[in-house]
């Protein structure tokens, strides 16, 4: 204790003296704090020298190709997005929760506010990592550190925190997530009623080991204690619907989320001595973590949550509770109406101009927006026929087929393996999107980029239909870094009483991969139809800029 480095003068000395005279626990805390301060000072000295090499050794935990792509993706500047923009798909309020999410263990010094959050084990891990870094740098000599000096100073401002859902193979991060879930209860509840942490299932293919892989047969709700007063029942129901695949599709999920939030707001009552605008946001955080655990949030859901949080925090404090609640319910209704319902109408108006008589249109999977467009075009007496392409294991095309045949459109149904066989007779391809990224890439159901690629080879125009609320500021160039892994057991097929791959768990070298999304580059997309009009794929950042100016 007496050997602390740069003391803050007489203040520290008094504290130390006081501590010496008090009980053992306090001194332990003191010791921890002093150790932390020493560490901070040491880190500040070393920061400029060993930043590069310490980062490299810290990232050894993740696979090498992955770490390279992670560094690349965090460095790629997005056009007009400031470096401090919020990180990818905003998970459960993690970036805004400053005390809850300290930066990645090997990058940057922990801020003083994080002190109570760190456990001894994490401190030890950090110290060990830094010692290894020191040893490594001493071995490599000054040449490497001088080389890494220049990029290190470049890396410093650009390195963003990676969201937890893409660091599943890093045990420190998983532990941190568990602690955060514990902490997201309001004080009076006991720890038995916390949000459970869902565990991964089955062997994960190494390229995707940084993502979660859950089993449908073990929904999160089974781990919840009854009665669970932490999570609102409509949210529990919603979570179950998400994880079992009852509610699927970007639009359906966001609208269901907003309806559940409306229910939450209606049943909400401000506790005494609290303000609605602040307390309600805090109440929503555990719900969002819970939903994130049931199924990772989509980009559209992320934008909807951002909007709600903004609306809640903008409620002026002089509003009475009833007024505030009605206002919030109105806002949510308006959002759904504007961004989903009216947008669909506007998009159909533009899209119908592009459908001429005698067209053969190809669609993939089940996109609510594309189905809406085709139904409207049919109502306006356009003569066309549709080819529905489908793929395992979700077989969503069957739902689209059902809807189109019901109103009388003549359809053909093929599996994706027959794509190059049907394409010569196709005149246009209409695709839906899960999200449009800031660099013009289209994120959609797995198989979409394949369709776009083959259509390009046959010179068939590809049109993507997407509402503007699905535009997100994330930048992605591949389908590996951020994706979703579905239940691998879904790939098993039972035919004539025999199930192939029944005992795939026993084979240690066999891995089943059930990807959900993939990313299509903008060169394969000819036109994007949004509610603002028809734009080329490269103009997505312009729309984002215009939208931000409006807000």
């Amino acid at each position: 204790m007496a050997d602390c480095g740069e003391a803050n003068g007489p203040e520290r000395k008094n504290e130390i003296v006081r501590a010496k005279n008090e009980e053992k626990e306090l001194t332990k805390e003191e010791k921890q704090r002093l150790r932390k301060e020493k560490k901070q000072q040491k880190k500040q000295k070393e920061k400029k020298d060993d930043k590069g090499s310490s980062e490299k050794s810290g990232r050894e935990k993740t696979l090498d190709p992955l770490s390279a792509s992670q560094v690349l993706s965090t460095q790629s500047p997005t056009q007009k997005v400031p470096a401090s923009a919020p990180i990818p798909v905003p998970p459960s309020g993690a970036p805004s929760h400053s005390s809850g999410a300290p930066s990645h263990s090997s990058s940057g010094a922990p801020s003083p506010a994080d002190k109570p959050a760190k456990s001894k084990a994490e401190l030890k891990a950090e110290r060990r990592a830094r010692q290894e870094a020191d040893r490594a740098s001493k071995q490599q000599g000054s040449s490497s550190s001088s080389k890494t000096k220049a990029p290190a100073s470049d890396l410093n401002p650009v390195v963003k925190r990676l969201p937890e859902h893409v660091q599943v193979d890093d045990p420190a991060v998983v532990k941190r997530l568990a602690k955060k879930l514990e902490r997201q209860q309001t004080r009076p509840h006991s720890s038995a009623k916390k949000i459970p942490l869902r565990s991964d299932y089955g062997y994960k293919v190494s390229l995707f080991s940084h993502l979660h892989q859950y089993s449908r047969k073990a929904p999160l709700t089974q781990l919840l204690s009854i009665p669970s007063s932490v999570i609102h029942p409509s949210i529990v129901r919603l979570g179950l619907q998400y994880s079992q695949g009852i509610v699927t599709g970007s639009n359906a999920r966001s609208v269901a989320l907003l309806h559940a939030f409306k229910q939450v707001i209606m049943d909400y009552s401000t506790p005494p001595n609290e303000e609605l605008s602040r307390d309600l946001v805090n109440k929503l955080k555990p719900y969002i973590s819970f939903l994130n655990q049931c199924r990772p949030l989509s980009a559209s859901m992320g934008n909807a949550i951002k909007y709600i949080k903004k609306e809640i925090s903008n409620i002026p404090s002089q509003y009475k509770e009833e007024e505030a609640k009605t206002k919030l319910l109105e806002c949510i209704d308006k959002y759904i109406d504007e961004k989903v319902v009216l947008a669909a109408k506007a998009i159909s108006k533009y899209a119908i101009e592009k459908i001429s008589d005698g067209d053969v249109i190809l669609v993939y999977g089940c996109s609510s927006l594309v189905n809406h467009i085709l139904c409207e075009a049919f109502d306006k007496n356009r003569k066309f026929r549709v080819i529905v392409v489908d793929s395992r294991p979700r077989l969503e095309g069957r739902e689209a087929l059902r809807r189109l045949v019901q109103i009388g459109i003549s359809c053909t149904y093929v599996l994706i393996s027959a794509l190059s066989y049907v394409l010569p007779e196709v005149s246009k391809v209409f695709l839906g999107a899960h999200a449009l990224l800031a660099n013009g890439y289209v994120m959609s159901r797995v198989g979409t980029s394949q369709i776009a690629l083959v259509a390009r080879a046959f010179n068939v125009p590809v049109l993507v239909c997407c509402e503007t609320y699905k535009f997100c500021e994330r930048v992605q160039t591949d389908s590996f870094v951020s994706n979703e892994l579905d239940d691998p057991d879904e790939l098993m097929v039972t035919r004539k009483g025999k199930t192939q791959l029944e005992d795939w768990h026993d084979l240690s070298t066999l891995g089943l991969l059930n990807l959900v999304y993939d990313v299509t580059p903008p060169d394969f997309v000819d036109l994007v139809i949004t509610d603002l009009g028809m734009i080329p794929c490269t103009s997505v950042p312009v729309v984002l800029r215009v939208k931000n100016v409006d807000q």
Binding site: P461, D526, P536, T538, V546
Partner: protein, 307 residues
Amino acid sequence: MLVEDKKQTEQKKYFRTQMRTDPDMASAVAAIRTLLEFLRRDKGETILGLRESLKWATDCLTRVDSSVAVSSGGELFLRFISLTSLEHQDLARCKKVMEERGELFLEKISLSRTKVAKLCHTFIKDGAKILTHSYSRVVLRVLEKAAAEKKRFTVYVTESQPDTAGRQMAEALRRLGVPVTVVLDAAVGYVLEKVDLVIVGAEGVVESGGIINKIGTYQMAVCSKAHNKPFYVVAESFKFVRLYPLNQQDVPDRFKYKADTLNNVSELSKEHPVIDYTPPSLITLLFTDLGVLTPSAVSDELIKLYL
């Protein structure tokens, strides 16, 4: 009905006189002059009525001259003059404001060709061999400026059937003292290995960054891509139009044929189109009075112009 017909014939006469007095003027500029004159003579009582009649006037003009530029110029003119605060109480004062804006717009676009020429002539190096298509006044202006800068270059012009407008271009270039050769439309692939760059004008620039121009441009673009020669387009900003064709078929019929054909002939499928669409992937750069743009930046500029 009679009043409208009278107005229409008056308009057409004014438009044709404008075109005749200054053959060097773009048809869109003549159209905008006509619209300005129409605005001055209009006796409408409301702003909304004024806008409606201006739209009607633009429609009439497109029936005289069906080029894309006339319709795009008309729409941009309407937007430009109403893009100011029209909160005055007096209609006469509003009209005056609109007329002033109209004059300003006309002034701006008459300078646009000079701006384009100033930007583009630096891309023509000494000793260059240039290939161009049909008769374009903007390209002529660019080559004039380059010749004035004492650069030595030779030009190959395609004959451009069915109206052999290429010969007109060759005549104009000979008068400037530039060595020029007229080639057949079919000889574009043959001659491309000799040329260094390709410059063409445009009748309209579409949202995707592609262009609509005299038929034969698309072929030239595909060949120059195959030979890896740069393909430059020169166009003024009033030619930017809110169309998004996906392929040749997708271009609306009202632009594909001349106005006389559209009015007189019943079976359009037997007629030969006079324009074609060149997709943005084949274009290297566009020179406009808004600057030198890549095809993907055109959409950005269009959003700024129209929104």
